[in-house]
């Protein structure tokens, strides 16, 4: 006998990879990240901003406006952050 599906709505659906996660970021007077606290971790100081770029896209749908930064934290970890310019919130993302 076929067991009942635990997921009755088990329709094929693509699950996006690399979804952004919200992070706490403290910025200086120029809006540059100074401290970053990743989810479940202690806050770390930003040692250097290695690279930055901006994305403005999909103005015809729900506009996407992000400013990305690759930063090196004081423990040597390299992460990619972006600021959602429409909402002013910060996210970490595997880019």
């Amino acid at each position: 006998m076929k067991p009942p599906s635990r997921n009755p709505d088990h329709r094929p659906r693509l699950k996006p990879l690399g979804q952004p996660r919200a992070v706490d970021v403290r910025t200086d007077e120029h809006g540059e990240p100074v401290h970053v606290r990743l989810p479940g971790r202690t806050a770390r100081r930003v040692a250097v901003v290695r690279e930055r770029w901006r994305i403005d896209d999909e103005w015809w749908r729900q506009s996407i406006s992000r400013e990305y930064r690759i930063v090196v934290l004081d423990d040597g970890k390299v992460i990619t952050l972006y600021e959602d310019l429409s909402e002013g919130t910060w996210f970490v993302q595997r880019a």
Partner: protein, 477 residues
């Protein structure tokens, strides 16, 4: 539909081709507006491409009831968007990417001079307030399905002939439902149960011996006033019927009209050998219909159950490469379905639900039966290149619609079927799944009810937005 009520209130004629025009319609004459194109399988709005039906070889029903909803697709759109009902509306023809033409037009648009077959630019120059609607074939097909389902409760002998036109075999229904008028009432009341009243109110009904007679009767009927033709009056009834109603090659009709033969009564006066000499088999058939010697019974249609797979994207997708990738995944899934039972595939259909509503479809008959993913996907990709989806795609759907004989059977000496040990060390082709993994997934599915494995697929690898580039897809070979 309030539009029909308002038409009646304004006293606008509701004969086919006057109030509502259809592609290829001659709007000045009765009946010719919706003459079948080349046979019973096609007709107004020719939706049979989506029906995938084959008649069963049975005797069928001699007495036929034809229910016809002219401009069925446009009426469905107006039911869905009632605020458009009192405006000038036109439905765009499906499946064309450039030089879009008008398919169906509303009464107001028709009054403004808009006609089916016109280019969009011509139509807009004639009627600046014209609202253009993209066709939504999925919605129309669902309505046809509903219609057939509800009519099957009345009689098992139901034969669709395009969207919005259906024949019912009524032999033997007298004992169940009474006189023919009662039978028509029962059929309409069945439709009233599932469709909005204004849509059903536009139905034209005709009953006569054979499908041709029933069709001519329905086309000459007015809404709410079915035409019922007994067998002894059939020949006389055909006398005034235009030759355009004949289900023969349109070129034959054109030539007959050029020769001054405009009605079936005039056609009947011609000798059969002359007609056969001029028009071949079509000439012989035309005479047989005109003299009521040929009665085509209604045959129940068998609808093979298609194999459907779909894929919903996290975000609407507009890039062709992504859709091609998704098509490959869908073809793999569809071919791996146990319900295929080893059969080869002869017909496929690719569809999509579009961003902002609406749907899109392309369909193809494969040159030869196959169960190879690439041979299924390649012609669909070619069709997609000719007529791409007009907007971003939210869900992509693939249907294996018709099947042939079982494809190359698994050989008795196929080493791959011997299990993981036998295949260990042998190279697997791209996309091939080792049988050991297949067995493991089968076991997991038995335990959990679904496959808990995923695989990474490229969605839009060059997207500037990182979360759009790759995704996880259920792995269920």
């Amino acid at each position: 539909m309030s539009g029909n009520r308002s038409s009646a209130q304004r006293g606008i004629p509701t004969h086919p081709g006057r109030g509502w025009a259809q592609d290829g319609a001659n709007t000045d004459d009765w009946l010719t507006s919706a003459a079948p194109d080349t046979g019973w399988a096609t007709g107004p709005g020719s939706g049979t491409a989506f029906l995938h039906a084959r008649p069963r070889a049975t005797a069928g029903s001699r007495r036929a009831l034809c229910l016809w909803l002219p401009t069925f697709e446009l009426r469905l759109e107006l039911v869905r968007t009632p605020e458009l009902d009192s405006t000038s509306v036109a439905l765009l023809s499906p499946g064309e990417s450039t030089r879009r033409t008008i398919w169906q037009v509303s009464e107001r648009a028709h009054e403004a001079g808009v006609r089916p077959g016109q280019l969009v630019s011509q139509a807009i120059s004639l009627c600046t307030s014209l609202t253009l609607l993209e066709p939504d074939p999925a919605h129309y097909d669902a309505a046809v399905d509903t219609m057939l389902e509800v009519l099957t409760e009345l009689t098992p002998v139901v034969e669709p002939a395009g969207r919005g036109r259906v024949f019912l075999g009524t032999d033997g229904l007298d004992r169940l439902f009474g006189a023919p008028t009662r039978q028509v009432e029962r059929a309409l009341s069945a439709l009233f149960r599932v469709f909005p009243a204004p849509l059903v109110a536009s139905t034209r009904a005709g009953m006569a011996p054979g499908k041709f007679g029933a069709w001519v009767a329905a086309a000459s009927a007015r809404c709410g006033a079915p035409v019922i033709v007994p067998e002894e009056r059939l020949e006389a009834f055909f006398a005034r019927c235009p030759v355009g109603a004949l289900p023969v090659d349109p070129l034959v009709v054109q030539r007959l009209e050029r020769l001054g033969i405009r009605t079936l009564g005039e056609l009947r006066r011609l000798p059969e050998p002359s007609l056969v000499a001029q028009f071949g088999e079509d000439g012989r058939n035309a005479l047989a219909w005109a003299t009521a010697r040929r009665i085509d019974p209604v045959r129940p249609w068998h609808r093979p159950r298609p194999i459907r797979t779909s894929l919903t994207f996290g975000m609407p997708v507009g890039t062709v490469e992504t859709l091609h990738g998704a098509l490959d995944r869908l073809a793999e899934r569809a071919l791996s379905r146990p319900s295929r039972r080893g059969r080869s595939v002869t017909g496929v259909r690719l569809g999509a639900h579009l961003e902002g509503g609406g749907s899109w479809f392309v369909e193809t008959a494969l040159r030869e039966p196959t169960s190879d993913r690439e041979r299924i996907a390649a012609p669909l990709r070619a069709k997609m290149a000719i007529a791409p989806p007009p907007r971003a795609v939210e869900t992509l759907l693939l249907e294996l619609t018709s099947f042939g004989a079982p494809s190359a059977q698994t050989g008795l000496f196929d080493r791959k079927s011997e299990g993981g040990r036998a295949t260990a060390g042998t190279a697997l082709k791209n996309g091939e799944v080792p049988s050991s993994l297949r067995d493991a997934i089968k076991e997991l599915k038995l335990r959990l009810g679904h496959s808990p494995l995923f695989r990474v697929v490229e969605v839009d690898p060059w997207s500037r937005i990182p979360e759009r580039r790759h995704a996880l897809l259920n792995f269920d070979p």
